[in-house]
Subunit: 662 residues, 2 copies
């Protein structure tokens, strides 16, 4: 048995200025995110575990039980079948999936972060039992995959393209790191270090090793986390190898297919764009293929760019970022419009009702954006992280933390409703772990700087140059743009505080200890940089004007032509049937209509609604037919919009983000 090294920072040949997110336990969130995190800690974390049990995942990993043996492949022969199974988890069918380990990994990760917020000894005990099963399951050589050991024995390392083998390892690694940090228990971490060592013995650049990498990226960013927590450079190097090798010629997936006697052309998804392995990553300039895979790849690339100071990766990432954000992103921060490949189609193709916009993809965009901030504060990335966080990602979780969306459309006829579970249950634990670790997205720390990316009631604890500092935000954000920050170093301490000035704010003002400061001079890349010697009780007040905005899409987006969306601060709004008398497609929001914001503390856990006097097409005089020469009459009506993330938390009904602009 390989001894696992002690946790310590990864050593690098040449240290770089790198910003790393604050670890989860160092940030307490309250207010908006506190409510979300409470829902996860009190409900979602337990639900995830229970659903995994109901789905009989434990039967797959537990060597003391008979193997479930019944295999229903992920790509079901019939879309109906998929719909039916996806609609509601019944518990009556044993569906064994090749990616169960990943769902358990994310469930462990969600549970781990939730333990910081709320002690939960019952859940911790259950997770320990799962970890014990993995301990028993692990083979002598370190190999660990419940699918390949229990369902498809003898086939390990024969199909990296399709079978999520390294992807599962990645999620278990992330779960292991989080659980170790939360509980101090090393067992899963040790297991995963041994497995990572085994992976490095099989795959890698050295002669005699397979030149493979995973068809579903994930292990890259997981190995970075493992390297950071263990201090082992070898894991970082393995992550870099996976990034560097991807898409090289001869193509590994071709060779691997031939090796197992298959025709490489008989590939379900037809193009390696599906897994972003169509060309080496540094040559990629379009976001393509499966959206979650893309986001995880770019996240790993960003980590490696930061850790190795690799500008060639950074250049590629910026091209990809441009491509995503100027041509292929929903206004909600959702992405990947098509169910066909769970991913990207063509530029400016952003259908609203049929939007796939998988919860995992928006969560993945948060991951990527936050890692781009590792290379220094830049609102280009942080603004988009905030957009995806407040809209297209948390829309995937019901307000009470118990129900989930897989797809996040921007228009609904009322039949797209949250479900208890999904046969491909990737999204619930993904949004769960993101919300439960939200504090680490608020702040990132460099050697002598702290960057504040997100605003909201919270307290952060960190060290700079060995001096402990506490930073407290008091704010009603996102409902109000006033943020009061108190900085409390244990001793006076010089460092730079970077404060993000969101692009949505039409004007911002800054006061330090009551004195106005000219923001313009100190702001670059969308962040105000306040360098000073901080002492206990220093107060910074940032006032972000939070106007209600009408937003219009690039006219290349045909689905949004003649339409307008509403936003206020970081929130995108939608209209829902519950708040509006008219059928939603009949509404037109006149350009001249004044829009008002109202506090609604009793509504949807407390929100600010927007309302305006609008016009509605009248239904009179259509008894005789579908079509006529006279346009519908127009009547005055009141339109009320709610934040998009909160939709479908009441009775089922229509929803619409892009209103007719009149």
């Amino acid at each position: 048995m390989t001894a696992s090294p002690s946790p310590r920072p990864a050593t690098k040949e040449k240290p770089k200025l790198a910003f790393r997110p604050l670890p989860v336990p160092q940030v307490d969130v309250h207010g908006f995110w506190g409510d979300r995190a409470d829902a996860v800690a009190t409900r979602t974390a337990d639900i995830l575990y229970e659903r995994c049990v109901e789905a009989r995942m434990l039967e797959q990993i537990d060597p003391d039980r008979p193997s479930p043996g019944i295999v229903i492949p992920f790509h079901s022969p019939s879309p109906d079948e998929a719909d039916r199974q996806g609609a509601e988890f019944t518990g009556s069918t044993v569906t064994t999936q090749m990616f169960w380990d990943s769902d358990l990994g994310k469930t462990i990760e969600t549970a781990a972060y939730s333990l910081y917020r709320r002690k939960n000894p019952e859940l911790e005990k259950k997770i320990d039992a799962v970890i014990d099963m993995y301990g028993k399951l692990q083979q002598e050589d370190g190999y660990l995959s419940s699918w390949y050991q229990r369902i498809q024995p003898g086939k390990r390392w024969t199909n990296l393209r399709d079978c999520h083998e390294l992807y599962c390892a990645g999620h278990l690694i992330e779960g292991a790191v989080a659980y170790y940090q939360a509980t101090g228990k090393r067992k899963l971490l040790d297991i995963m270090c041994r497995y990572a060592d085994h992976i490095a013995s099989v795959l890698g650049p050295e002669p005699g090793k397979k030149k493979g990498y995973c068809g579903h990226e994930e292990i890259e960013l997981a190995l970075v986390k493992l390297a950071r927590v263990t201090g082992e450079q070898k894991y970082m190097d393995l992550a870099k190898y996976f990034i560097d090798q991807r898409g090289q010629r001869p193509h590994y997936f071709d060779e691997e297919a031939r090796a197992r006697g298959a025709d490489p052309k008989a590939y379900h998804f037809k193009t390696y764009e599906y897994s972003q392995s169509h060309r080496p990553v540094r040559e990629q300039d379009k976001v393509v293929g499966h959206a979650v895979r893309a986001m995880y790849l770019y996240s790993g690339m960003a980590d490696i760019a930061t850790e190795y100071g690799d500008d060639s990766l950074r250049v590629a990432l910026d091209r990809l970022w441009d491509d995503l954000t100027t041509k292929n992103l929903y206004i909600t921060g959702g992405l990947g419009p098509s169910a066909h490949n769970e991913g990207f189609t063509s530029d400016y193709d952003l259908p609203n009702e049929s939007a796939y916009a998988e919860t995992c993809a928006a969560v993945g965009l948060v991951f990527w954006a936050s890692r781009m901030l590792g290379m220094g504060p830049n609102a280009r990335y942080a603004d988009m992280m905030e957009r995806a966080l407040y809209n297209g990602s948390i829309s995937g979780l019901s307000l009470d933390g118990s129900l989930f969306f897989y797809e996040n459309p921007l228009e609904s006829r009322g039949r797209h409703n949250r479900w208890k579970w999904h046969r491909c249950p990737c999204c619930p634990p993904n949004v769960g772990r993101m919300v439960a670790s939200i504090g680490s997205y608020f702040y990132s720390l460099a050697d002598d700087a702290l960057a504040v990316h997100l605003y909201g009631d919270s307290t952060a604890r960190f060290d700079i140059a060995g001096t402990p500092v506490q930073l407290t935000q008091a704010s009603r954000y996102p409902w109000d743009g006033a943020v009061e920050i108190t900085v409390e170093p244990q001793a006076p301490l010089e460092f730079t505080l970077h404060l993000r000035i969101p692009a949505w704010s039409s004007s911002a003002t800054l006061e330090i200890n009551g004195e106005a400061v000219d923001l313009e001079d100190m702001t670059s890349d969308g962040y105000a940089a306040i360098r000073r010697s901080w002492k206990k009780g220093d107060r910074v007040r940032l006032d972000l004007e939070m106007p209600i905005e009408r937003l219009y899409a690039n006219p290349e987006v045909r689905q949004d032509a003649g339409r307008v969306a509403l936003s206020r601060g970081p929130l995108i709004y939608c209209v829902e049937a519950s708040d509006n008398d008219s059928r939603l497609h009949r509404l037109t929001l006149p350009r001249t209509a004044g829009i008002e914001a109202h506090e609604a503390p009793e509504l949807l856990g407390g929100v600010v609604t927007l309302s305006a006097t609008a016009r509605a097409d009248a239904g009179d005089g259509w008894q005789d037919g579908l079509y006529r020469r006279e346009p519908p009459a127009s009547v005055e009506t009141r339109l009320t919009a709610i934040p998009y993330y909160a939709w479908d938390n009441r009775e089922p009904g229509e929803m619409l983000v892009w209103l007719r602009d009149g």
Copy 2:
């Protein structure tokens, strides 16, 4: 071998006033429909036969060749698969379909009608050879199904629900009737009479017979044709039985499933609404399920309503007609929005880009509407027949007669293009036979009346009370609304001439032998009824005002909200990329814009285009992102529209029917 009776009119217990379409050879069409019919006679008819050969259909029916044996079921496991196969017929795969007989039946029917227009001895010889194969294939007892004899032997009459057994018989009957009428050759007619006799010996109301009917309606209307051409009431009665029995309890499809050891609930389409057998036909009040099946059923019901004077069927048909035309019909006369069931979804659900609107369904609506006219002239039906004829049905055939659409969307991004063939090749011969027999839709004849349903250059020959009459229309219709009709009875003759006054015409004037006549007094149900003693050379001039119209959809149709469509006379228009500078979704047609009609004799075989000064969203200033606070600037542009039926006959490009209304 059963002797086939001589052709003579069907005898009925009580004769009714019934209008029957003029037989195809009694009408010569010129002008617009002459061009279409020429394309079918000179190209489509031969192409259909050749494609059937390339698809290796003859190998299935020819007993002298080995059975093809390779079965690829219609409902392919993967939609990709279906797409790939549907996109282009390659000839390299043997796909054997249970409905090949129907495609050959319709191909024979198209060839038959085309022979009136153009002698084609080579094609006639080939059809004769196909008929010889069917002659050899027919079993001693009269049974005839290439699928059940050659591919699934021993299973006849075990799955009427799914396997198109009677549907195939119906299309071969229609082909037999048409071929007999066109060539005088009785061979296929005799074959099909023997088969119909066999069917009547197996299925029917009498004790000991199966109480079945076909999952895909078609044989009902075919048996009516067979009864009319042979004069055999037994075929009419069998058709009526199929109509009457449909949807009765206990449900035949349930019993049949159990008889073959299957669970009736394990039905792919889940509901018998799919085949309109969810309840007895007289109790039906919603158009449901597979759209082509529905149209064929209603056609058969209309025939039986006419032949038996059955008002209970007529009442049901009128309910269904209302439901279709006021809630479930595209403005093009297309119908059945969903690919999932090739049919209807919910009221007012009429998506444009994803519209299935199968060519066969619009052709089926023409069939139904024309049969509703059997109960007397009524523009309620004829207006819709014209709408479907000029728009959503012939859009399925390229102008040169060589390429086809299966789906007829109302919006395209330029990737929906005509194909050579389809693995389910139902549409090409369906639109082929409809166009080749167009003359019979122009006119229908009762004992002492002739109804003119459609206008356009044509000559009709018919007898009334034993006196031959020739009626000639001179008109540039549909480009111009002036119609000059000359009536030439061999001897003076009293009868009623019914002339349709289309609903789209804002005003119409009538002159008889140069004298103005007050239309209002003589018009009922949308037809002017001119009763007089006609003598040679009598001239009727009808002037239909043909304004350019803006049409608006019922506001319940969310997909058309804020949109406007253009029409002129019977034609619905669309904009296509070829004629417009701007991306089509960027265009807005102001309500105040004047719209002009222009003759374009060189364009698309000669059309009238519509054009107007419109606005287009400008693409400036969007370098930095997808969304911004300022709406797109608006620039003036010229919009040009062409008739919808003619789209996708040039280079591939975008197409749009419903323009933004501004």
